[in-house]
Symmetry: C2
Subunit: 498 residues, 2 copies
């Protein structure tokens, strides 16, 4: 058995080296790479993917995994997790023809480049043929895996193990019942909106981002903050976690809350068990759990009044013209302003799930063969009108706004909404052990971070999302915590004074 | 044969994808990666190297190369070059035990990190054990290759195909005969030295760097200028060539001439035949030829009076306090100030080869087993005293100053001196076709770039350094062009007025 276990770790090292390289290429392409670099990058990614495929998918690996599966009792928890993850990967990748698999990796590199230009030029038609190819691959992929059930289940399961269309339909129906009336009721309140004519110097915004990242617990010697068109987090290892943000000089909220959001993702990666080393288990367990970490920081903490009781003086110091004379309650209402809008990543906490529902339903239709690529812009406008009551005047503000589809990330969006729901359930569990609001008021994240590290972060992929939720909160996933949280938050916001 | 040729291109694609990834990891480590990232990076590089080794070194590849070698007449020039390069790589790598090869790749990642700290802390002892391991590997490597001749020949040959200790001894002897009296004679002249108390705002220096890069012909959409501790160039593809510089606010020359130097390297890479794609042949053919490109721009062009006849007004505009009242001749003498000093990368054009001779002789002794690692700091001081008449007070200013040894780059330094000599020979050949000085005075690099592209750049690795020199200049390498150039330059500098 010892020899087999060694082979398992060797496989892990090899595949993790390729994943590291691939992540770095992606980071680079989104932050620094020059315009004309795309062809060589696509060739590199295609090559790396071929190595990944050939290393994972072969009789030797299959035999190794089978032997280890038959001798589970000899394996540590970590070894068992590795076997399980490689088996999942194996079963999904092995069924794709090798050439098709690596050609697809090259395709998404090109396709996301094309999308970027299409969005810039409001030119959906230039992107459509690439999107068609990406979707065709995904449809083939669903066919190759042949898991039965709804075709879209396969893609949901890739992002959140075990999630089905039936689950997601029920979850979104519950959300919709709560959110639609909540939005209506808030719209009758005396909301505060920040003027778009104010200028927030970018150098001050940068100071704020760095200051808060560090305050929240980001280890600055184990990560990087950079700029990119769209904020994102990438992890090369627990000691090299990179986040980006985007500064707009007339909108302080965009960079501020995206930095807090990405810091939440980063803290998950930075606090994975150090002993895992560079390994397939040394990353977050699912998209949904990852989003729970970013959203608990962005919304539950970062948009709470307690958080700003501590940090508002910093805002007033950095932006004296804007906030020197504004009181905390007005600021708090301002950052929690609710209004149906066009752009997902700029949406408030309440209407955000409606943006997800639009995407969820469209993706479901795509994989039910109920809509063609050239019909997507119109379908998008219809859905936005029906869920949010607004209609984008251009595709750049509509169907082209997100990078995800160009990268083949179908089945991913639901995890954003799930993340908010998980976050509320985690916060409620945390509150049984200590008073979260007291920590926020002091700006002291040590208890919070310890709880997250102990219950979530450290495990990496050695626990499934369902296990994480059950072990951390003592019960299965329950969306009612989110509903209570969001209703309570807005009820008190317009009743109390602080 | 068609099938075999396809396999050759596939091998090229695979290995080039790995090389791309490895280069990007290196770029990242020197520009952005956070402090604690080193372990995961070493693991990645070790993994990538294992793939490289396993893909290149196996019976299948050996058979493929042999078949193609036996059927040369069916191959295009490009295909023949690929076969030759892979055969060279194969023969040198195949003889190293696989584990040793990939462990070494991890070692140099760690070792260069340790060197960085050792240099910062003036702590040679912390670096010594790593240097010992690197040298031990190199000695084993020489043994494995077993080429006969002087052991150091193997390392020279790796950097400049065909170069031997006998050649290098003769070359350096010729240089020494010229340079030592030249330095003495210049020291009697009325030299101009810039004050170290002046401040050159970094934002102005950045403008100058970007402006000149573009003027010299760097395609800005096919490359990047960034900052790093030590300036360098890295090429991911002809459309993604990256250079760095380092700005010091009391020394404009450092960033200015390193930018011009690295731009020379970058132009070589950016002008390689587009048809080569991402390929083993799509890069410069040798260290020596590469250095000829950086040095012809830095010294022959960038430190000529003709160049500054064109560009000096820009300097005066960017730095009015320093140069507003200084005339061109004084500026020209200032940038060409000659004085024996401690730091290679800050050395003037005349004493520079003496810095290389110190390193050349020490490396030769290392591989003749005539000096131990712990004796290197003292040997360094002795050689500097003897060649340059100066003695470093700390190891950071002495034996620790260069990154090369920490990365295993032995046999590399001589190419810097060769580069200067090649550059002079190329300039002389160019002058047979058009008047180089007239181009410089106009600041118009189109003829120069066309000549370099036609005679050198486009070929990538499809010609050896010796072929390049012969085809471009009509004769074999002749160091006398450099000697004439450098003597003539300084003779006229202190005679003429401009």
């Amino acid at each position: 058995m010892k020899k087999h276990i060694e082979q398992l770790h060797e496989l892990d090292q090899q595949l993790s080296a390729l994943t590291y390289a691939q992540s770095l290429v992606e980071w680079d392409s989104l932050t620094l790479a020059p315009k004309k670099s795309v062809n060589a990058r696509a060739a590199c990614i295609e090559g790396i993917s071929t190595f990944y495929f050939n290393t994972l998918v072969n009789e030797k690996t299959d035999d190794l995994l089978r032997t280890l599966e038959l001798n589970k009792s000899y394996l540590s928890q970590i070894e068992q997790s590795k076997v399980m993850i490689f088996r999942d990967d194996y079963d999904s990748i092995a069924k794709i023809p090798a050439k098709e698999f690596s050609a697809y990796q090259g395709l998404v590199v090109e396709s996301s480049q094309v999308w970027e230009n299409a969005k810039k030029n409001n030119d959906f038609d230039s992107f459509a043929p690439f999107l068609e190819k990406v979707i065709a691959f995904k449809k083939n992929y669903i066919g190759y895996l042949d898991l039965g059930g709804h075709p879209y289940d396969t893609l949901l399961n890739d992002n959140e193990k075990g999630l089905t269309v039936a689950d997601a339909d029920a979850f979104f129906a519950t959300l919709q019942e709560t959110i639609v009336p909540l939005v209506q009721s808030i719209s009758k309140q005396d909301q505060v909106i920040f003027s778009e004519n104010e200028k927030y110097p970018i150098v001050q915004q940068e100071k704020l981002s760095s200051y808060l990242m560090e305050k929240l617990g980001f280890r600055m010697d184990g990560g990087v903050l950079a700029r990119s068109e769209h904020p994102f987090t990438i992890n090369l290892s627990r000691d090299d976690v990179r986040i980006t943000t985007h500064y707009y000089d007339n909108d302080f909220m965009s960079a501020l809350f995206s930095t807090i959001h990405e810091t939440g993702h980063a803290l998950y990666e930075q606090n994975i068990n150090e002993k895992f080393g560079l390994s397939v288990i040394a990353t977050g367990t699912s998209m949904g759990i990852h989003e729970s970490q970013s959203r608990i920081f962005e919304n539950n903490f970062g948009k709470s009044v307690e958080f700003w009781k501590c940090f508002y003086p910093i805002m007033q110091e950095l932006f004296p013209n804007q906030f020197g004379q504004t009181n905390l309650l007005n600021y708090y209402k301002g950052i929690n302003y609710v209004k149906p809008s066009l752009i997902r990543i700029e949406a408030d906490e309440v209407t955000y799930p409606l943006h997800i529902m639009v995407r969820y339903e469209i993706e479901k239709m795509i994989f039910e063969d109920k809509v063609k690529v050239n019909e997507l812009p119109e379908l998008w406008r219809e859905k936005y009108k029906s869920y949010l009551g607004v209609v984008p005047q251009t595709d750049s503000l509509g169907v082209l706004q997100d990078v995800h589809w160009s990268e083949g990330l179908f089945g991913y969006f639901p995890s954003y909404a799930l993340g908010s729901a998980y976050a509320a359930q985690f916060e409620q569990a945390m509150n049984k052990q200590f008073n979260v609001n007291e920590c926020l008021e002091k700006g002291d994240f040590s208890n919070i971070l310890t709880w997250l590290r102990d219950n979530i972060h450290q495990y990496g992929r050695t626990k499934t999302p369902k296990q994480i939720i059950f072990d951390a909160t003592g019960e299965n996933f329950n969306p009612n915590y989110f509903i209570q949280y969001i209703q309570e938050k807005y009820r008190t916001m317009y009743q109390k004074t602080y």
